[in-house]
Symmetry: C2
Subunit: 332 residues, 2 copies
């Protein structure tokens, strides 16, 4: 295992300490229990937006804490759900009296622990609404999930719901816009290599030199099938097909396209992927109105990519374009 | 070789086509010869800022084209200098009548080809000043270089000189600020794995499972030594030591710290690296006033990192903080 780490048990804590030292104007880090909150939290009268999940998907979620996106992120150990007390304390820390939105990727442990956190903070009169993200069309159920997994749409939901909260909208509306994002987004990914969990020390799965895993999950869960390694254009077609079938997009629809690297994939390759995705969407009569190309929801050192499409309307576009100031996503 | 590409010969062109499709509001791409210019170029009366070099270091340079940074980038083939005509045409395309700054990483081919481009555009009366970046303290001469290699400081020089040009300063001043950045910046990197050039198809060099290359270049050139794999904190000390020795920073100095991933290194690990770098600099009595943690100048799919330190003053700080809108670096 070749990693830039000290002891495997310390990776998450040390990365959080690094995050805190690197972004003092944007966020604060609490270590016991572990959560990250924006530097000016709590904001009176503003809905808090909280997400979280296992570590190893950076910049998701900790890199999205800041003005215009998340009020707090709760990082679990690598590929491990955050505990209820992490989520409860983070929720309380960003409660400005207007309630808190939980954005939860659909993994059994995450859903359960966010629910338990909601019960804990309810005792203090904090109102929480949860929206579960389940955009991965690759599989119906998987290793860690009943129902579809939550993947790339989480980034988009955090940005857009974060913008709605920043505008001062009430909890019900912030939750509604988050649900709209989830309902209108679909994703699928492939892996060229496995990831290696630091505390395990060897690759999660084996892939031959000429193989790829199609429909991979962000923890190395198996996908739909194993295939011989294809060229980038064919891979795009293998991903976009199931996404478009499920999304039900129609000629003239506007979409946001996210081409996401899984952690060890160079940007050069992601732009080769975006090239074909763009032309394929145009061939389908869709209009790509916004795009994001980079590593936004990763799986440690896995090589591969995922594609997410989100059907946009005027309101989602406006919220997407709203200013955001986080370590990993920033525009003014 | 596992890469998300089509034919190895087409990678650079296809990535440029993807870049153009992804960022139509920010930049335009010319394919023959290949260069990228900001969407609103040329700007009358503004100094043009042009950089370039071999591809495979993305987001450098093409991802830094846009308002507040580069007016143009000239991408060569992978790890291959751009040709004189690429640079000459890009220079002419961004010439607004106030002259053009060339920011050139110190590699023999790059320096030569930028010089030849300068001679070509001189025939059309375009004034060019070149600043050569040579911040890598690892080696004195290397495989592709007489003198030190240009690495991480290039990103900082492009941002800061770009801001000076955006303010409307004359060419001599924009070049002077670029020289100031180079004079006050030092870098060094390590590799945990080799990169693989698409057209070669196998790793550039071999590293054992418990080895790392200390002082690596961004094309896989050998560094100072091969070492057993160390923990992240030790690696930071191995990099910061030579940098600080050469930089001549004194107690109370302000620095910008860049922790850069080489292409296949997860962000989680880069924050573990930043953690120790930050504490080490504080122990030295330095004040880290700005930082950048991510993959900004890469070496294809190499795993590893580099550290760059830039001594800051009030003027450099102001220019660093100025708004920038490029695909890879953006703040308002």
């Amino acid at each position: 295992m070749k990693k830039l780490i000290n002891h495997p048990d310390d990776v998450v804590r040390e990365a959080l300490e690094g995050l805190a030292a690197a972004h003092p104007d944007t966020l604060r880090v609490n270590l016991k229990p572990a959560y990250v909150v924006r530097a000016d939290a709590p904001l009176a009268g503003k809905v808090g937006v909280v997400s979280g999940g296992g570590s190893g998907h950076e910049p998701l979620h900790t890199g999205y804490v800041g003005k215009g996106m998340l009020d707090a992120a709760c990082p679990g150990q690598v590929f491990t759900s955050p505990t209820p007390d992490q989520v409860a304390e983070a929720t309380a820390a960003v409660n400005g009296g207007a309630g808190v939105l939980h954005i939860v990727k659909n993994y059994t442990g995450d859903v359960l622990n966010f629910e338990m956190a909601t019960e804990i903070v309810a005792e203090d009169g904090i109102e929480v609404t949860a929206v579960v993200i389940d955009d991965d069309v690759a599989v119906t159920d998987s290793l860690y999930t009943a129902g579809r997994r939550g993947v790339g749409a989480t980034v988009l939901a955090e940005k857009i719901a974060g913008a709605a909260a920043e505008e001062g909208r009430p909890l019900a509306q912030v939750a509604a816009v988050c649900r709209t994002v989830n309902a209108n987004a679909r994703s699928m990914g492939i892996a060229l290599t496995s990831c290696t969990v630091p505390q395990v020390g060897h690759p999660t799965f084996d892939l031959g030199e000429d193989e790829m895993e199609v429909g991979i999950g962000i923890h190395g869960e198996p996908g739909r099938s194993r295939s011989v390694l294809r060229q980038a254009d064919e891979i795009v077609e293998m991903l976009a097909g199931p996404i478009l079938d499920d999304l039900g997009a129609e000629t003239g629809d506007q979409v946001l396209a996210l081409v996401n690297g899984m952690g060890a994939t160079p940007l050069l390759e992601l732009y080769v992927v975006y090239r074909r995705l763009h032309s394929l969407l145009e061939e389908q009569g869709l209009r790509v109105v916004r795009r994001l190309v980079g590593s936004y929801i990763t799986s440690l050192d896995m090589a591969g990519c995922s594609v997410t499409l989100l059907k946009m309307d005027k309101e989602l576009l406006r919220l997407w374009d709203a200013p955001v100031f986080t370590p990993a996503l920033s525009w003014g």
